[in-house]
């Protein structure tokens, strides 16, 4: 079980809780990065034309010959009879797998309409798994907007893989959360250098090569939005390493050091690996810090990465936090981060987009981190923005990426300085 809330919670700022119109993606969006992580997996959304259109629009470009995700669009006939809908789904999966013989894991992804009509995708997955035994594993999870917000889709997808993870007492470091392959390789190398016995990842690069889990597993979250997965892994015996998340030099160092400490590694050996990284990372940050220092930042709720990013931008880049919004606040997984936020930081959970935009206009921040629907309208009002979706698609984790991460925020400001029409 996770540790009970610490007394540090009491000192945390009051959180502004809002309910109203949310301007966020649903969990289906996470398919866009999950399918790239696991090239032998296919994500089949069982939903409506809206679902298909959402993923297509969120992916932004239509570049794939035949992407490894698709939508089984429910028609009126499927709504009329659920028995037929199950037959239809079986037929469609058969056809799909005939065309894509390289697929090893098929995710049936629930959507708002499939949840509302109570189409039992779990039973469908079991049925199809039995039919396709030995060839393709069929899993299911919900990415619906009525249950998940944006990055929570990954949390649900990982939870669906969990029952297939073998049990093992072996000592290992399990990094949980999708990382860019290059970033992951880098972390593995660093952990090896420090002397961590074995490093594994969830999700794995091949969907069939799931890591084991058990009492020897130390669980290190690479992403802050994996509440359900973390709890389920702890339930399987893993020990959660509590730490800030690996954004920025400070966060990445604390994150790696926490993992090293969990294995009782000699601090000197750890420092020998991390010290040069820190020096180099700070050097890379310096030019961006000059650009960002003293600038006022407003983060709208979107990816649940807002609090760690705010911590990085405040502490390492010198930005002033006007408001830090998050769609959902897991106080336990966020405890180490919140403890590092400047005192008095205004946190908001949930959203009432109109009221939040009123606060944005009243505060006139120098930079707003927001979704694609709001960016151009705010720019037109003279407020610089950074698209939050880029943060889930770009390699931003680790000391070596800290400079790039800062640059993502400095660029809109820098661009405004360059442009002149007089």
């Amino acid at each position: 079980m996770l540790a009970p809330p610490t007394s540090a919670d009491a000192a945390l700022p009051e959180v502004l809780k809002e309910s109203g119109q949310r301007e966020v993606f649903c969990g289906l969006t996470s398919i866009v990065w999950l399918h790239r992580r696991m090239p032998d997996a296919f994500f089949l959304v069982v939903g409506s034309r809206t679902c298909a259109h959402l993923i297509q629009s969120a992916a932004g470009v239509m570049i794939f010959a035949e992407p490894r995700f698709g939508t089984a669009i429910l028609g009126e006939r499927d709504l009329a009879g659920l028995a037929d809908a199950n037959d239809e789904l079986d037929r469609l999966v058969r056809e799909l797998l005939e065309r894509r013989p390289e697929i090893r894991t098929l995710f049936l992804v629930g959507s708002c309409p499939s949840e509302v009509i109570k189409l039992d995708l779990q039973r469908a997955a079991e049925r199809l798994s039995a039919q396709l035994a030995g060839r393709v594993r069929v899993l299911n999870y919900s990415g619906s907007g009525i249950e998940t917000t944006f990055t929570q889709g990954e949390d649900h997808a990982l939870m669906a893989m969990l029952p297939l993870m073998p049990s093992s007492d072996e000592d290992q470091l399990l990094i949980v959360g999708t990382l860019a392959d290059a970033v992951e390789d880098r972390f593995r190398l660093l952990f090896e250098r420090m002397g961590v016995p074995r490093v594994r990842s969830l999700p794995p690069r091949r969907s069939t090569e799931l890591p084991p889990v058990g009492p020897g597993t130390r669980l290190l979250l690479a992403q802050p939005f994996l509440s359900g997965t973390a709890r389920a892994l702890v339930h399987r015996g893993a020990q959660l390493i509590e730490s800030p998340y690996p954004f920025g030099v400070e966060g990445s160092r604390l994150w790696m050091a926490a993992a090293a400490a969990a294995f009782g590694l000699a601090p000197a050996a750890v420092a020998a690996v991390l010290d040069p990284l820190e020096t180099r990372g700070r050097r890379a940050l310096e030019p961006h810090r000059r650009e960002l220092e003293g600038r006022r930042l407003f983060l709208l709720p979107d990816s649940q990465m807002e609090i760690p990013l705010a911590r990085f931008l405040a502490r390492e880049c010198g930005m002033e936090l006007v408001e830090v919004g998050t769609p959902y606040l897991d106080r336990q997984l966020m405890a180490a981060e919140m403890a590092l936020l400047p005192p008095g930081t205004r946190l908001s959970e949930g959203q009432d987009v109109e009221r939040q935009l009123e606060r944005v206009r009243a505060e006139r921040p120098d930079l707003v981190v927001c979704g694609l629907g709001l960016a151009n309208p705010l720019e037109a009002e003279g407020i610089a923005t950074k698209w939050s979706i880029e943060l889930v698609f770009s390699p931003i984790h680790g000391c070596d990426q800290a400079g790039d991460l800062a640059e993502l925020f400095a660029r809109p400001l820098h661009r405004r300085q360059r442009l002149s029409f007089v």
């Binding site: 959402l54 089984a72 629907g373 709001l374």
Partner: protein
């Protein structure tokens, strides 16, 4: 249940959003779960709009479903009306809300909203799509605002020529232009200018830029111009039925269609018929000029919404001298017209919203140019075929900064440039033919073709010839003919006898050597034609002689 990877059209409520976002003073309350707000980015990112679409979502969640979602709808409506003070309110639901049956439209009708006109939109999300949703929403909005003005049955139809008696200029409404439509912004300007040059005023443009009050003035015009039938078809026929307003149906894209459009509208309104159109656009002369000779018989594959597919087929076949080898649309509502146009061209129309089926048809038709949507642009890129985008669905690059209409005389200029530029220039093609033995033209030097044709399409793995191709093979393009006039080296090897044929046809070494001398950009076609020729004659081996025999055969 239907498997979809990429879709041409969004759900019908996105069509409703297009109407609301195109207009001023209209607000749309949409009962929809969180996540559906993604649709905002279609307007703010693809159309680069500087304001949010006028849409308020209820963004209900699972925990709301246990409670009173109807109350959430009412609260959202009250707040939206208070905050945005719309001149007309659209109320509807997306696919998920349709299932929970809160009937937001009926709820709104029962509320006291200070007299704001309320239009309830019922758009069946599980059977209809975006364009239908746009047409239906536009129609419901117009009907809702005009229903009290409908003259009693049996009233005389207003004459489209009554402007003479009323001592004013003739005036028309331009109906259908909307956001996320293809080049609507510039088409409206071009057609307004065109009509002005013939003394015809534009009364109301809608939905793009119109307010609800403008829609109330629709019946004051002498006729409606149905610029985009996908969006305005339903409204135009309703205005015709209810107000006796005539509809101008010709869509003025291309020289011939613009001429027909002017003839139709001037005859209807009794305005002086315009003089010959030739000198109003550069397209006719550019198309006649010698450089364009190389365009003759270029094989084009067309797939778009119905309006743009039909226009493209006419321009391609008549005004540019292309050979249309494929024609289709994803607009099922207008499938009949596209089928008829395809039949006239000796083709069978492809009516599909499965982009993979379209890509397959494209590969089979072996075109030299693709005119399509963003989806076809990507398929064409994979197949190494140049492509021009002629229709929605859009990408941000299809909303250009410069003035670039598709309609009217300037539209024809824009079309000439944007369809011809992806192709190699005519003079260039002649020169490459003449100098093809020079080292600059060996394989791999393909700077003029952009991303270039993939090698595999030249050396094997060819799409099977289809009926359309076999027909077209009888009319070779000049580039093919020209290969023969320059290449003159016959091989000494005697042609193998037909008796040896085992169902397989192989290239002899001299045949391959001769094939290699043919410029890469026509080699695929020559190879295919020669193989077809050899198969038909059951030849086991294709020698250089066979290649020339085939060339002679196909050049008849």
């Amino acid at each position: 249940m239907e498997l979809t990877l990429w879709t041409y059209e969004g759900p019908p409520h996105v069509g409703a959003m297009r109407i609301a976002s195109s207009m001023e003073g209209v607000h749309y309350v949409l009962h929809a779960p969180q996540g559906d707000t993604y649709a905002d980015l279609l307007f703010t990112m693809i159309e680069r709009r500087n304001r949010r679409p006028p849409v308020t979502y209820t963004t209900f969640q699972a925990r709301d479903l246990g409670g009173d979602t109807a109350e959430l709808v009412k609260r959202t409506i009250t707040q939206a009306v208070e905050r945005f003070q719309p001149e007309a309110l659209l109320v509807g639901e997306s696919c998920t809300a349709e299932l929970i049956q809160d009937q937001p439209g009926a709820l709104a009708q029962g509320m006291d909203l200070g007299g704001v006109p309320i239009v309830s939109l019922e758009l069946p999300a599980y059977s209809k799509k975006e364009n239908w949703g746009a047409a239906e929403s536009f129609y419901q909005l117009v009907r809702g605002l005009l229903k009290d003005q409908i003259p009693p049955p049996g009233s005389p139809k207003p004459s489209p020529q009554r402007w003479r008696q009323e001592g004013r200029r003739a005036r028309v409404n331009l109906l259908g232009p909307s956001l996320l439509g293809f080049r609507c912004r510039d088409d409206v300007l071009e057609i307004s200018r065109l009509l002005a040059s013939h003394g015809i005023e534009v009364s109301v443009v809608a939905p793009l830029g119109a307010r609800p009050a403008d829609l109330m003035r629709l019946p004051a015009a002498d006729a409606n111009v149905c610029l985009y039938p996908e969006v305005a078809g339903t409204v135009c026929s309703w205005l015709e039925r209810s107000f006796g307003m005539a509809t101008v149906k010709t869509v003025p894209i291309g020289i011939g269609a613009t001429t027909d459009f002017l003839r139709e509208i001037t005859e209807l309104l009794g305005v002086d018929v315009p003089a010959a159109a030739e000198d109003k656009s550069r397209l006719p002369w550019y198309s006649r000029s010698v450089d364009s000779t190389y365009l003759t018989g270029k094989r084009v594959f067309i797939f778009a919404d119905a309006t743009h597919a039909l226009a493209a087929a006419r321009i391609a076949s008549k005004e540019l001298g292309f050979e249309v080898v494929g024609l289709g649309t994803y607009s099922r509502e207008q499938a009949r017209e596209v089928r008829a146009a395809a039949k006239e061209l000796g083709l069978e129309a492809l009516i599909s919203d499965d982009y993979l089926a379209v890509e397959k048809a494209m590969a089979e038709a072996a075109p030299e140019l693709v005119l399509g949507t963003q989806m076809e642009r990507h398929s064409a890129k994979r197949l190494g075929i140049p492509c021009a985008v002629i229709s929605s669905p859009l990408h941000v690059q299809d909303v250009p900064a410069r003035y670039s209409p598709q309609m009217g005389w300037e539209g024809a200029n824009v079309i000439f440039d944007s369809w011809v530029h992806p192709l190699m220039m005519g003079l260039e093609e002649h020169l490459i033919g003449m100098f093809r033995h020079d080292f600059e033209f060996v394989d791999g030097h393909r700077s003029h073709l952009g991303d270039g044709a993939p090698e595999r399409s030249l050396t094997g793995n060819e799409p099977q010839p289809t009926l359309a191709m076999a027909n077209a093979a009888a009319a070779p393009s000049p580039s093919e003919a020209q290969v023969g006039t320059v290449a003159t080296i016959p091989a000494p090897e005697p042609a193998p006898s037909a008796a040896a044929w085992s169902g397989e046809t192989l290239w002899s070494s001299d045949g391959e050597a001769e094939l290699a001398k043919i410029p890469f950009f026509v080699r695929g076609k020559v190879k295919r034609n020669t193989e077809t020729f050899a198969r038909e004659r059951q030849l086991a081996v294709i020698s250089a002689e066979t290649l020339y025999d085939a060339k002679a055969h196909f050049s008849r």
